[in-house]
């Protein structure tokens, strides 16, 4: 991480584009937490890349003064992986929604986690498709009535934390848009973590799936003595929890892909076409 010589504040990370989200949308808190985390870490704006997919939450890169990629629905992870592998010493964040990460782009998630590329992935989960106006999402609850499921959702919701824990994510946490201070702390910890970090954010959609009062009542912090190094315990909680737990669920260290790949050769040489072609003589 390359930090700034002059002190950067939250406003340095704001672009001149005003967010397009509905009033009260959980994503505002995610955006503010991102500004705050980047300012806390004093990261230079030109050394940060925010990569998103498609959806309400995926508009986020436009609202930051950093580099950004507004990619395709579900494709933020591969694209961010390319950005990171090209720029291993920069901070790359992947930000998007539950549809992006666990429906159309779900195939990329386990591989991004297993590769342990140093990406900070933030999933803004509102359990609904907001931008297309209220169809079911992969994390919608069984029985949830949406425009595309007038008789209720039949499928068991995908469990984001269990999925990434199983695939090998090395930093797994959950935050809640109504707790912005904790959110910024989780982002700081996720960015600082060397390896694939995944932060699940409960980010309610006030327009189509307003769950604030439900989560205000249900969300609970992980116990103070929670052992972050215990994968089995974390997976067990992901399977059994009835009330969503907030905080850092799991953290471990494992070789990081971008560093592994860039350390394969001790001595980097420029390409010598003539020498290379000798093998075909």
């Amino acid at each position: 991480m390359v930090t700034s010589a002059v002190t950067l504040t939250v406003k340095d990370y704001k672009s001149d584009v005003k967010p397009t989200w509905c009033p009260g949308c959980g994503d505002f808190a995610v955006l503010s937490a991102t500004y705050k985390a980047l300012a806390d870490l004093q990261l230079r704006t030109e050394r940060v890349v925010i990569v998103s997919g498609i959806g309400c939450s995926s508009r986020i890169p436009y609202f930051l003064s950093t580099y950004g990629v507004h990619s395709l629905h579900g494709r933020a992870l591969p694209m961010a992986s390319g950005v990171k592998l090209a720029n291993p010493d920069m901070t790359v964040m992947v930000m998007g929604g539950d549809g992006d990460m666990f429906a159309i782009g779900a195939g990329h998630m386990p591989h991004a986690a297993s590769r342990n590329l140093d990406l900070t992935t933030v999933c803004m989960d509102n359990q609904i498709y907001g931008l297309t106006k209220a169809q079911a999402s992969p994390t919608s609850k069984i029985g949830q009535v949406t425009k595309s499921t007038p008789y209720g959702v039949a499928a068991k919701p995908i469990n984001p934390l269990l999925t990434v824990l199983a695939a090998g994510a090395t930093f797994v946490a959950r935050g809640y848009s109504a707790k912005p201070k904790m959110l910024a702390e989780l982002f700081v910890a996720g960015i600082k973590h060397k390896g694939f970090s995944f932060i699940h954010v409960i980010s309610p959609c006030t327009e189509f799936n307003n769950t604030y009062s439900f989560y205000d009542a249900q969300a609970t912090d992980l116990p103070a003595d929670w052992d972050k190094s215990d994968l089995q315990k974390a997976m067990g909680l992901a399977i059994t929890e009835e009330k969503p737990h907030l905080g850092v669920w799991y953290e471990t260290e494992r070789p990081v892909l971008d560093q592994v790949l860039h350390s394969l050769e001790k001595e980097i040489k420029p390409f010598d076409t003539s020498a290379y072609l000798k093998r075909f003589e």
């Binding site: 584009v17 230079r44 704006t45 030109e46 050394r47 890349v49 990569v51 498609i54 890169p61 436009y62 003064s65 950093t66 580099y67 950004g68 990629v69 507004h70 990619s71 395709l72 494709r75 992870l77 591969p78 694209m79 961010a80 992986s81 390319g82 950005v83 990171k84 592998l85 090209a86 720029n87 920069m90 195939g107 990329h108 591989h111 790949l261 860039h262 394969l264 050769e265 980097i268 040489k269 420029p270 390409f271 076409t273 003539s274 290379y276 072609l277 075909f280 003589e281």
Partner: protein
């Protein structure tokens, strides 16, 4: 009369050594100074199934796999029965009498050589059979065994015990041909001046060209017949400080390549038709966000999974039109192995300069065949790097500044003042997405204008054949050599024919094509597909009717097939009664 150009075909069970025998003989011949052109086809299974390998070797440049077979080596009965009808009159059959009982034939010279018995009983080394055959061919046609010995020595450099047995096998075969049989055939490779040539496959050439063009990021997913590019890049890129990665699917492959390109590296992915289908969604994003990216499609016979190890040139429509919406793209196709090396560099240059996807079409024939070529003149290599913003431009940076050429200076993460969001949404000069209607009207022509520059950069198309031709042949991709050979043959037999072979397929070099078509009476368009995709494309842009020549059996054209069509058109004109105009 001695014949110093030979078409040798080896056929047998897959995994039996058919391919390796062919490869060693080919390399040895090329090292001695001969020109070689190979074709191979093998079953999609790893072991078993019918495999064959063909090498055409001569003292003069060989442009195609040729017509028929001069020398047939049948490793088993199936090999014999599948190919015996292709043996040219006066040709040679080499077989093992223990496994093959050939029919009586007065037009074929047959040598029954007990390869299996020699290997088992004389040498006590059954795996030496391939090299006995290789040595026999060398002895029969007068190829110096020293070049073959060198190859075997380097192949088994670290396995001394195997080296001795393999060399013994090679010389056993060689001596069998020179001492134990009486040569009755006219084929003889006359000694040639030993000019060092390279022997490489199309996929080797594509990887080498990409590295020379500055490619430093590759992501791919294994698929026949493109996998060797992934394998080569994975081996070579780390040495250059680059990255190559096998990823979960082709969508991720092109996504990572696009991401790495946004991140500042020249990037490529390689696939075949099924993979290009998956990549389609990204083509539009890459063009919209003006991110350079090279996509190699080594075509195979489709549709769907089709025939993975067989040839077809049937992804042209997909390369030209895949993706929703209107967007510019570069599509190129190479004509030969040497051409693949230079054209992939062109593809990178155009993609980098004009910041759009460049789809590079190879195919099963080109990717997997080997050809000999002179060491390329490296002074011909020009590498284009993407336009970067100046310090002045970064003061009020407009990533998508409207310019005359259509291309705008492109920043990369790390450049202060250069931050922008690469969008798939319609956007203004700064990349902002809030006034799409207005932006769309400005940005569509800006993006498409870049094609004019790309067309100009490729220079003029050069024609092959008669200056006063009445018949023109227009092809694309890996058929360049076989078309030229057919045209040469036609001109030698009194016809007036010329060929044109555009390498840039999008945008098409319309003026040169127009000029060529106007200069001839009839145009034949040979292509290895059923429907005539290129013929339709030419008609749609130039409005002319053309004579289609389509082949779709999974194998390349022979010069004779194209020559026959030329004769037919010379005799009857366009059979539908109208010329192409």
């Amino acid at each position: 009369m001695e014949k110093n150009e030979i078409i040798i075909r080896l056929a047998g069970e897959g995994g039996e050594g058919v391919i390796s025998t062919g490869d060693i003989f080919t390399q040895g011949a090329a090292r001695t100074g001969y020109h070689v052109f190979t074709f191979r086809t093998y079953p999609a299974e790893i072991k078993g199934g019918h495999a064959w390998y063909q090498v055409r070797v001569g003292a003069y440049p060989v442009l195609s796999m040729g017509d028929g077979v001069d020398v047939m080596v049948a490793f088993n009965a199936e090999g014999y029965y599948n190919h015996k009808h292709l043996i040219n009159k006066g040709g040679v059959l080499i077989y093992d009498p223990d496994t093959v009982t050939p029919e009586e034939s007065s037009s074929v010279i047959a040598y029954g050589i007990p390869f299996n018995t020699i290997a088992r009983k004389e040498l006590d080394f059954f795996r030496g059979k391939n090299l006995i055959v290789t040595g026999f061919l060398a002895g029969l046609f007068g190829l110096e065994p020293s070049s073959l010995e060198g190859l075997i020595r380097s192949r088994f450099a670290r396995r001394a015990e195997l080296l001795a047995s393999n060399l013994k096998s090679l010389y056993a075969g060689y001596e069998h041909a020179t001492k134990k049989i009486e040569k009755r055939d006219p084929y003889f490779l006359t000694p040639v001046e030993k000019i060092p040539r390279l022997v490489l496959s199309g996929n080797d050439a594509i990887a080498a060209g990409a590295l020379a063009a500055g490619c430093r990021f590759f992501a791919g997913y294994p698929i026949t017949p493109a996998s060797e590019i992934l394998e080569t890049m994975s081996k070579e890129l780390p040495k250059l400080g680059g990255v190559s990665l096998q990823v979960e699917d082709e969508i991720a492959a092109i996504g990572m390549a696009a991401g790495a390109s946004f991140g500042g590296l020249k990037s490529m992915t390689a696939t075949s038709g099924p993979g290009l289908s998956l990549m389609s969604e990204f083509l539009g994003w890459v063009s919209m966000s003006e991110t350079p990216c090279v996509i190699v499609d080594s075509q195979r016979a489709g549709p769907s999974t089709g025939m993975p190890t067989k040839l077809e040139q049937a992804d042209l429509n997909h390369a030209l039109y895949a993706g929703h919406g209107d967007f510019p793209r570069i599509v190129m196709a190479a004509g030969s192995v040497e051409d693949a090396f230079f054209r992939i560099i062109d593809a990178f240059n155009l993609s980098e300069k004009y910041q759009m996807p460049a789809i590079f079409l190879s195919d099963q024939s080109l990717s997997h065949r080997t050809e000999s070529m002179l060491k390329p003149d490296l002074s011909r290599i020009h590498v284009e790097d993407r336009l970067r913003p100046t310090a002045e431009q970064l003061k009020d940076y407009r990533r998508y500044a409207v310019t005359e050429s259509g291309a705008s200076p492109m920043s990369a993460p790390g450049m202060a003042g250069g931050a922008y969001v690469a969008p798939g949404l319609e956007h203004d000069e700064k990349g902002h997405v809030d006034t799409p209607l207005q932006s769309h009207i400005i940005m569509m022509p800006k993006r498409f204008r870049k094609l004019d520059g790309a067309r100009k950069d490729m220079g003029q198309l050069s024609r092959h054949g008669a200056a006063d031709a009445t018949i023109g042949v227009i092809g694309w991709g890996s058929t360049e050599g076989v078309i030229q050979e057919a045209v040469d043959r036609a001109n030698a037999s009194g016809h007036k024919v010329a060929a044109l072979h555009p390498k840039l397929l999008s945008p098409l070099q319309v003026d040169d094509l127009r000029k060529f078509m106007d200069s001839v009476e009839h145009v034949i368009v040979p292509e290895v597909n059923y429907s005539g995709q290129f013929a339709h494309y030419l008609r749609s842009i130039l409005g002319d009717s053309v004579v289609q020549l389509n082949k779709y059996g999974g194998l390349p054209f022979t010069p004779g097939e194209i020559f026959k069509k030329i004769e037919e058109v010379a005799r009857n004109g366009n059979q539908r009664g109208n010329s192409h105009r």
